[in-house]
Subunit: 290 residues, 4 copies
């Protein structure tokens, strides 16, 4: 019987005031729904105390019509508190596109975790502005689209990508060391749905060749940053960061190798949290319920 | 007006079933109480799904009689779910005793964080089986009790300690590298109220001279463990652990120095979490809501 | 011209006494050889002070006959100090075999780094007691040998493996989560040439199911250990270790995922250091010049 | 007899060419001096390959006149390679001044480690522009100088400090969260002899209130940087850095507490390495032989 239990995630944000948790959990309890996990956080946003909650719950599909339930939730609870809210059901599998250039380490990390079910979603396509990774991608059984950039027609390539994303109903775009700046038009079509891995510890060493910058500055630690892409290059909301230690003995080649490892794991964590609906974006910051 | 707002923490555990969060938060909302922070976790304990929750809330002392409130909570909510529960008010300041031998680093870390208000409590006394730290302790304005151990009368010294703890209404005993094994009688009087720092990464290298053991075994990482003392030496519920890296270059002296740093920070974190009522003990494990 | 410069590594160990470094570096300087990097360490071994050195140097193949040089070194220096020594030339590429069972994460990490030239060697074969990874291995263009174990003829399979290793002139055997205990006979044929990854932080949780053991014990940190395989299971010289933090929120599934990541990177580092001739084994410990 | 053995450290830098290590070690071997530890590194500096070496050696004071030895070294070796070099004998104890404002955590960390002999030197005075730490400093038996700053006579206070440093023959100045910018005149009198702790992970968040900046930017990791003070504020050669992880749950107060811990340990490590003569400054970077 328990095989009929489905799980879903409810994400809520609204202005904070007493009684929100009670209203939400009361509503669910009255429907016989069991909360498996709850996370809640309050934060001053633009001078107003704001409330954020993520609930995982399970329900019996035979007994509960989830669409009716959501209508009632909207009417009885959400409208009362002027909530922004979203529900994610387990059978709504997110559709992922990976954009990549020549370096494969970030893409491979995602694909390997996807193959071993650590990262959960569909990957209907991988797009690159180079053709070097074609064979590698296809060995995973995923269609590879080679869309080279002609210098004076960069926008043309972007339009092709956007068409592919649209045709494939993509929910998440992963920039796995995709070495092109995307236009505002592109980015605004996928707000908080494009995850970029920057190969440095932002805000230090934004821009190109961060490891070279790090060596010049003589730092003892460098890192990697996964963030949502926004119009302002390398300044979007940070999802995850991590670092590696350097010493004077490390050559640039060695640092690049160390860097790859930290980039891979930072990106993989950010992607996983996004896919599990654990990330709220608030202004230019994130709340990560992990 | 906000100066009259008090905060308190409510800790609850019971068998898990639908509706607990709703019942608790509903009860508080009806009293006009605002939840500041909530943590909740479910866990299989001896084959039964168990529920654990920690709530921080604020209330207006002028409007709410907390004793009445608790009576009502007991009657209306706690008894219904057969909860074990506990409330900690901000004006209930925990009283701490530190037991120490000759090494001062763990004691000093606690005292420094206590002086700078990172660790919050009263420290009415520090007890040692040696007299070497007397002057150091007294420079903090804390009474120092020198209770040496006479070989054949170890239990006599324990009785003196217990009397001091009792006279001073001690809530928490910190073993800050106290190099004596306490009797079961002693430990059972302060169940989950004695925090010990073990200078190794348990369960590896339990017992004496863990750094020597670590060197012999050629490990590349050693650590420290803060745990509640239980009758079984070094086997109590672990609150916090951390590690340091070693290399073949590190002498035993160097490892001892590195070890001190990790011991200090692990113990300080565990003590802080305990004092903020963030730690549940479940069988021989802990849930730490931090 | 600089294209003719070759590099080599010289590893030396002997009883410590004054003048060793001078003798060795003097010898090399007189031949016009430039030392690029030198590491040296002294250690008490069985009560005697022992000396260990690793030198990287470059020489002009046109001007220097390395075989003559080594003969002279043996005669003029090594015999004087009763050194154990070894030279590794850059054109001596190590030959690697990977043994694997059903889990692919450790093997894949090695293969990726090998593909991207972070790990340098030849991999003429991968052997498994299961056939599930055959396709994956062959996508890398590496021959896969499926050698199942028949319960009462385990030794037969080992003999087949040993024959393959021998036929392929294997220098290093990587146990990439190979879930079989090797016989003493096998291990003694490849002393300090078999690297195993143990999915726990040895000596804690030796044996099977370390993550289950870790959960039962309520530890807050678990790890992984790469070591040379010896007759005593899980007790060989440790090359590298690292850890991950756990919380009460982490399910066993989550811990297994976290564990995979730390296993992968610990094994990869150990293999890289071994292949770069950075590891000395001294009794049951290692000196790693990294 | 071994009680007469003294140790000393020799630091050398010069243009790299074959034979340097041989010349130096040969010279020492001929005097019957035993090298305990040697570190060596080569680095491109302004397009020229430069050589750096640190040697620890022991010698019998009865047999060796160290001043004669150094004269010979200068004549026979150092002048040949145009070396910059320096010798530090164990009986030359460095003299340390600490400058501090109101916050005590960095100062206390240094004083504890100094008391427990982890940090080795004389501390003849501590200077502050505030008087709040007077009692605390004097409890360590160290003279405290309160030199307040009169707004329009900042240079007057600096001159008083410089006089005290000079009168006390100070070798190292530690800025233990000293919240004043020092003049170029001051700094140039103590080139590479002033260690500052910056409470952020430079180059990110240089300047004031780095934790506030970090919160605004939503970073997931912040850190601390110990560096030599130079005329350019917060841009001197970095000796050591480390980081702490943040989450959205951490209040600014909590981050400040976490920050204190990382500041303390980063500063302590940098000071220790400096005092053990492990740090070379090369242009604006450091080589740390640790």
């Amino acid at each position: 019987m328990s095989a009929l239990l489905s799980t879903a995630k409810l994400l809520i944000s609204c202005q904070d005031r007493p009684g929100i948790i009670a209203s939400v959990t009361n509503f669910l309890a009255l429907q016989g729904i069991n909360i498996i996990h709850a996370d809640q956080h309050s934060l001053l946003v633009n001078g107003r105390k704001s409330f954020f909650m993520r609930l995982e719950f399970e329900y019996d599909q035979k007994l509960i019509d989830i669409d009716n339930l959501l209508n009632d939730f909207k009417k009885d609870v959400a409208s009362l508190y002027e909530m922004e809210w979203n529900i994610f059901r387990d059978n709504q599998i997110k559709r992922i596109a990976i954009l990549v250039s020549k370096m494969d380490h970030c893409m491979l990390e995602i694909l390997w975790r996807w193959q071993s079910k650590e990262i959960y979603g569909d990957i209907p396509l991988i797009i690159s502005n180079h053709d070097v990774l074609q064979k590698e991608v296809e060995s995973f059984g995923i269609p590879f689209y080679y869309l080279p950039i002609q210098k004076e027609h960069k926008e043309k390539q972007e339009i092709e990508i956007l068409k592919l994303l649209n045709d494939n109903q993509i929910d998440l775009v992963i920039l796995a060391r995709y070495m092109q700046v995307l236009s505002s038009n592109f980015i605004n079509k996928y707000t908080n749905k494009i995850i970029n891995i920057h190969h440095s510890f932002l805000p230090a060493f934004a821009g190109a060749d961060p490891y070279g910058q790090a060596i010049d500055r003589g730092v003892k630690v460098v890192g990697a940053t996964a963030h949502y892409a926004t119009e302002k290059l390398d300044q979007g909301p940070i999802i995850e960061q991590d670092v590696i230690r350097l010493t004077h003995k490390d050559s640039k080649k060695k640092i690049l190798e160390l860097g790859k490892e930290v980039e891979r794991s930072v990106l993989a964590r950010a992607v996983k949290w996004h896919l599990e609906d654990r990330v709220f974006v608030v202004n230019n910051k994130t709340i990560v319920f992990n």
